[in-house]
Symmetry: C2
Subunit: 331 residues, 2 copies
Amino acid sequence: MSRHHADAMPHVNTDRLWQWHMRMARFGVTGRGGVNRPALSTDDIELHKQIALWARERKFDVEIDDYGNQFMRRPGTDENCKPLVSGSHSDSQPTGGRFDGISGVLAALEAVEVMEEAKIRTRHPLEIVIWNNEEGVRFRPTQMGSAVYAGHARLGPLQAAVDPQGVSLETEVGRLRRAVDFASERSLGKPFAGYLELHIEQGPILEEEQIDIGIVTSIQGTRKFEVQILGEAAHAGTTPSRNRRDALVDAVNVVKALQILFYDPLDLVRFTIGQFEVKPGALAVVPDNVFFTIDFRHHEDAVLKSLGDQVKAVCEDAAKRCNVGVTETRN
Amino acid sequence: MSRHHADAMPHVNTDRLWQWHMRMARFGVTGRGGVNRPALSTDDIELHKQIALWARERKFDVEIDDYGNQFMRRPGTDENCKPLVSGSHSDSQPTGGRFDGISGVLAALEAVEVMEEAKIRTRHPLEIVIWNNEEGVRFRPTQMGSAVYAGHARLGPLQAAVDPQGVSLETEVGRLRRAVDFASERSLGKPFAGYLELHIEQGPILEEEQIDIGIVTSIQGTRKFEVQILGEAAHAGTTPSRNRRDALVDAVNVVKALQILFYDPLDLVRFTIGQFEVKPGALAVVPDNVFFTIDFRHHEDAVLKSLGDQVKAVCEDAAKRCNVGVTETRN
């Protein structure tokens, strides 16, 4: 490609894209520079409305489905073609970063804006999507909007999802529809020709290696376990080691054995013990009860299966004197 | 000793002693067969009164000192001699066994009772003592009555000790004096000719070896430490091992290193981690904070010193990526 040709190509307007980021970061802004933007909170609905208004100004259709996913559609030259879709989520964790999720929505917005300016027509319609409740903080499960859209039948009905205050997702989707009253109804599962999503890096690797962008080649699968170790409480001053059934001593051995099981020289296995509770938790009492969780992730199903399936036996073998129970959990 | 001679000797009346135990177990009885008898609670004062009444019936002097220690004195033939004293405590832990402490008081009572019956006179006066607040549950510190009596100057004034409800020891000693209004004032630290105490075994060894009685040859000393491990919270799904400063991973290494330090093939070292807290304690968050306690006991000062003095360095060496703080604590 000649230099002349490259200059003639339409370019992303980085200033405009940055301004959009700063503008969106006001919805649910916290004192610490990030955002707290629960799915379909007033802040999140206002954000949806802003983007819907942007689309309406460009005469794009705005559509909202029963789970609160919002689509902005730029027509193609052949309306029989399925849309090419890009976007992400707008809800956040309680201590979310200001670019998380929304960057993917804004990248799609900017890409379409550049085409608008350059008067580029595409054969396929282009759609920008805001998936609802990706973080799963306000409603369970996580990734609800996209999962339902993709047809995961195991997800419960709309009515079942309520937030911790008892407000249903249905109620909040109604509120979104009233705020964006020019949006039409979207049917769930309407097929795509393709989907692309930009997302801020969730880990430290690219930043560490000073690489601007990476291509996602796989998504991590997760298995979760709860481990319960039951021993016997005893007096710290009088009970000899040989008489103890110390749940913490056994738990430490179990953790060590799990560290060996999950050790990965390639450093791709994610193995985390995040919750670890010791009872009764008194200075001079030998603990009789340790509960801990295992969060294990890997991008290959075979690894998830082979390592995950060994957890129970490894825990049981490593405990010397206590009883060990291992349960695999969902969510 | 001939059989004839042995039969002629006065014997402890085991039925009577058992009945006394059962009677005393009613003061503060819990539903689970044990007792909950805080120092100078109404139950404990009633118990003191029962024993004081027993002494008064036998025309023994009853004396109470400023810390609530109660003495029952059987005169000797030479009142210039210092008393030979035996007894124990009557207060209990919230889930105390019914023989803990009180057995030592009742053993002394029974011994004196046998002498009374056999009309045996002794040159030295014999005293039965109930030490106040041995367990330290209601008032701090533990073993307060005996420690003050023995002249440990480091203990604070009477007025400073209050229970969790704000009731002072002084108030409760006043209540004891009113309940036992025939008791006279005892001066603190009045010297003994000798002291003997029977106590129920606090550990499992004699019972395990089916031995009825053992002689105490030493008392355990204690050192206590608090260990704080500070890492960095991170996302369980995205943070590679090499980037983690996982406080639980380091804590497990520290515990392992401490287990090696305190390992004792003779099984005389008592090393207990009773309290162990992991924060933030969420399934998918790498912990950034572990706090744990060390309770270390041994009967030899030299061992207490040499092992205890190594705790800090061992903890610091074992932690790989986190910051470790070790503090020695009192109480």
